[in-house]
Symmetry: C2
Subunit: 204 residues, 2 copies
Amino acid sequence: MARTAGSHSDITGPRVRAAALKLFAEGGYAAVSMRAIAAEVGVQAGALYNYTPDKQTLLFELMESHMRELLAAFEDDPALTPTARLARFTRFHIRFHSDRMSAVFIAYMELRNLTPENFEKVEALRRRYENRLEVILRDGVAAGEFDLGDTKIATLAIIAMLTGVNTWFRSGGRLSLEEVSAQYCDMVLRSVGRTGGVLEGGAR
Amino acid sequence: MARTAGSHSDITGPRVRAAALKLFAEGGYAAVSMRAIAAEVGVQAGALYNYTPDKQTLLFELMESHMRELLAAFEDDPALTPTARLARFTRFHIRFHSDRMSAVFIAYMELRNLTPENFEKVEALRRRYENRLEVILRDGVAAGEFDLGDTKIATLAIIAMLTGVNTWFRSGGRLSLEEVSAQYCDMVLRSVGRTGGVLEGGAR
């Protein structure tokens, strides 16, 4: 993080990142210049370099902070049954991502524009998040609540299914996010070998 | 399709599209110039305009032909049970997409770079493909083989899950595509209310 410390950064830094998020999501990282970001913030292009050394750093900070917020926001509760934990994870994932359309979009679209070093850091955070789900699946298998093959594959399959909601869900549509979330919850629980929608209890 | 007809187009057209596919996948549509595509093909930049009017047409043709090939490649078989048809769809989707990494990548990454008119055409083809799956799900519900909520949501959930394989599967890894495919098949069938992995037969 090569931001200049001090009160100006404290105020302008978030505005710079918000502007970069908006412009990257609209036009793509490659097509957005530092000058365009400065104009969106309302500062001179030269002044932008007080807040960030370059466009790559801005992209990395957006993707890294998205993953760190995701990790901070999901708290597993080992006191619950694996079935209940998986239902909680499912609802959490859909809700968290639906509130952050631009950040999620960039997290997937702009991975290829990270430097290899930055890519590796973001991927490590993504793997940490995936592991949170995989632990739930493993515990569910151990407890006899889930019946599935490879827990890593199941993890990736479930996350892809859930994140896909962002590509088509629009609030005000035919179904509310709660209704959509309930059906995904049902499908996810069934996909790991739970029978329909039971959130508590023992083996099937 | 504003390509010039004739033998030169017949030979060079596919090479132009192959070069555009490669470069768009590597660097993104916005960052690739017609000059770069011409260089990849091995023709002068001016000569490229004999084969395509502009970069947008190239992008659209790549995405449209990908969707048309997908639609042509999947043949549903109404003589089978809905369960068997869903299993066939699952294996087909994973196999087809794993053979076309660059085209699939572009189909998702560059949607925003289509003109509104071209976007609508590609989306119409995508909806036709989604409908193929939804028909299977509806037939399964009608036959009492599947037990699920909204068939449109289930369609989108399943396609997102299956297409996600492309983001992580690499041949030569821990599991073969066949093994991965078998587990997805199991998860998909269960997610719609079929119990584990039974490919034929009646209601659960």
